[in-house]
């Protein structure tokens, strides 16, 4: 358990407790689990020609929807990581839930990690659900490197939640957390390729996107799914954002 040693005693119990509270909150639970599926189906049906195969050039033979999966998953993780979960922590701060925790041996890192674990786990379940539903509606190609896809999705989610925790560490009101989250949200979605997926994204933009957490996640997932070698740089960028995000948020964290 050396990995967990910097965390306070009871962090595991806090994770279980936050999971229980999350499962008890019907509305949030439904939204968290269904949102990625709705987003994927929505994008797939709203944009014409998503099920048509690309005749020639880059990605020839693949259906258009295949290029939308990475940015859609990226968008699906951005919502809880930048908005919902920071708002939850800010609401805890607003209500005095964190004030009570501050009187115990529990440290800020424990609070952040508990929310991160619950958020990432919920997103992974929702992703499986989205892909299962997506596969029923569209022709989704089988990933070329399934393990890489899993690693990229997991690492991308952890990196995004870590960045969101910086907002969560400071915001004194749920509404503030959501507002700040939204400011970061749209630039991130742009770099993730929601409007210029896969080969459509200009090279210069893609080069910048590699250094953003959501862009790196989208590119890494894309490489695993559609082929293109192991995206070492993107994976390293995601690890970097995770380490920096957790370190900054634990440092600037305020209890009240």
């Amino acid at each position: 358990m050396t990995v967990l040693s910097p965390l306070s005693r009871g962090t595991g119990a806090l994770v279980r407790n936050e999971t229980r509270l999350f499962l008890r909150d019907g509305g949030s639970l439904f939204f968290a689990l269904v949102f990625p599926a709705v987003l994927l189906i929505g994008v797939g049906l709203a944009i014409p020609g998503m099920d048509e195969r690309i005749p020639a050039g880059a990605g020839a033979g693949l259906p258009m929807i295949a290029f939308m999966i990475p940015p859609v998953l990226a968008a699906a993780v951005a919502t809880p990581s930048l908005s919902t979960v920071p708002a939850t922590i800010a609401a805890y701060r607003e209500q005095g839930v964190l004030t009570r925790l501050s009187t115990t041996p529990m440290r800020p890192a424990g609070v952040l990690v508990a929310q991160l674990v619950v958020g990432v786990a919920a997103f992974l379940v929702a992703t499986v659900l989205a892909l299962a539903v997506g596969a029923l509606v569209f022709t989704i190609p089988v990933p070329q490197q399934p393990l890489l896809v899993v690693v990229a999705v997991l690492l991308g989610a952890v990196a995004m939640f870590s960045v969101g925790m910086i907002i969560a560490a400071r915001a004194t009101k749920a509404a503030t957390a959501q507002g700040v989250g939204m400011l970061v949200y749209f630039p991130m979605l742009f770099f993730a390729g929601l409007w210029t997926p896969g080969p459509v994204m200009p090279d210069a933009v893609a080069a910048v996107a590699t250094w953003t957490p959501l862009g790196a996640a989208s590119q890494a997932i894309s490489a695993g799914w559609l082929g293109g070698g192991t995206p070492w740089l993107q994976l390293a960028v995601l690890v970097g954002y995770t380490v920096i995000g957790i370190a900054i948020s634990a440092r600037v964290f305020r209890w009240s």
């Binding site: 119990a13 407790n17 008890r24 805890y92 004030t99 009187t103 115990t104 440290r107």
Partner: protein, 305 residues
């Protein structure tokens, strides 16, 4: 050797001075009440003592540790119930106590603690469905679950009905009986009078008086008072002769009878003189000061009960 000692604490928020100069000590096994009107700086004081807030000046020692330098060091041994602290609405009583127990090295048994606090029948009730008194009792449970040596309890009975308040008081007495030293923050005179070994009265960020409730309510010499009623009005010359008694400093006749202030020997002297004049009061009662009288006299505003 005090378990807790604060010296000359000071804290300003911008241009507002919340705490000007507060010093207090808590001896092992004692209950010390910090009493003062709303906004007197009581909560800020205990937050500085616990290391939850950085003091602008002053020193704190809690069990030999310095919470201002290392707030985390005292968490295991200092239990706290803060007025502003809440729990998520959907957590149940049992879950909350078990969760908080998991934060400490040597926690109390959650079941025993809930039994002590009379919450055994409520273990599966969610926090938001508890009554105010039950929420406060759960708060005390969480402050005690780490088996602290010291507990700081802030405005514990505010918002409770008189019955629930008395229940909480009994509970605090039994907690003290188990060896925990308690720093109690309150604006209720009755609470301080009933529970505290020592009372520190704080107003506008400064300590205006401290001592045991008895010391604080004791009148200074020449400040002893009693009231008498008579069936008939006293003759003026008799009243004058009473006023001239060396033990009497003042005598007034009003709607509530005759009020005498003076030395402790004023009562026998006055009754003796009345007896010589063949007058007997129909009623005599001595007027003891309550902590409330002291409080109102010392602090700038009358607290809202």
């Amino acid at each position: 050797m005090p378990v807790l000692e604060a010296r000359h604490l000071r804290k300003a928020y911008g241009s507002t001075l919340a705490v000007d100069d507060v010093s207090l000590t808590l001896e092992e096994g004692q209950i010390v009440a910090v009493l003062g009107p709303n906004g007197a700086g009581k909560t800020t004081t205990v937050e500085m003592i616990a290391g939850l807030r950085q003091a602008d000046a002053g020193t704190v020692r809690v069990l030999g540790l310095d919470p201002q330098a290392d707030p985390h060091a005292v968490r295991e041994q200092l239990g706290m119930q803060l007025q502003a602290a809440r729990l998520p609405g959907r957590i149940t009583v049992a879950e909350a106590v078990q969760l908080y127990a998991s934060f400490y090295t040597d926690p109390a048994d959650p079941a025993e603690l809930l039994e002590l606090l009379g919450l055994t029948g409520k273990v599966d009730t969610k926090f938001k469905d508890l009554s105010g008194g039950q929420q406060q009792r759960l708060s005390i449970a969480l402050a005690l679950v780490g088996r602290p040596k010291i507990a700081i309890l802030d405005e514990l009975t505010t918002g409770l009905d008189p019955h629930a308040r008395r229940e909480v008081w009994q509970l605090i007495e039994s907690v003290r009986g188990s060896g925990v030293s308690i720093l109690l923050v309150t604006h209720f005179m009755e609470e301080a009078e009933r529970l505290a070994d020592r009372v520190v009265i704080v107003d506008e960020g400064r300590v205006v008086a401290q001592g045991s409730p008895t010391e604080l309510t004791a009148r200074a010499e020449g400040d002893y008072a009693f009231q008498m009623q008579f069936a008939e009005q006293l003759p003026a010359e008799l009243v004058e002769s009473l006023r001239r008694l060396p033990e009497v400093t003042d005598l007034t006749i009003g709607d509530h009878g005759c009020t005498v202030t003076g030395l402790p020997m004023a009562l026998p002297a006055v009754v003796g003189r009345l007896g010589a004049a063949d007058r007997v009061p129909t009623d005599i009662h001595t007027m003891t000061r309550s902590l409330e009288d002291v409080f109102v006299q010392l602090t700038s505003e009358v607290p809202v009960p």
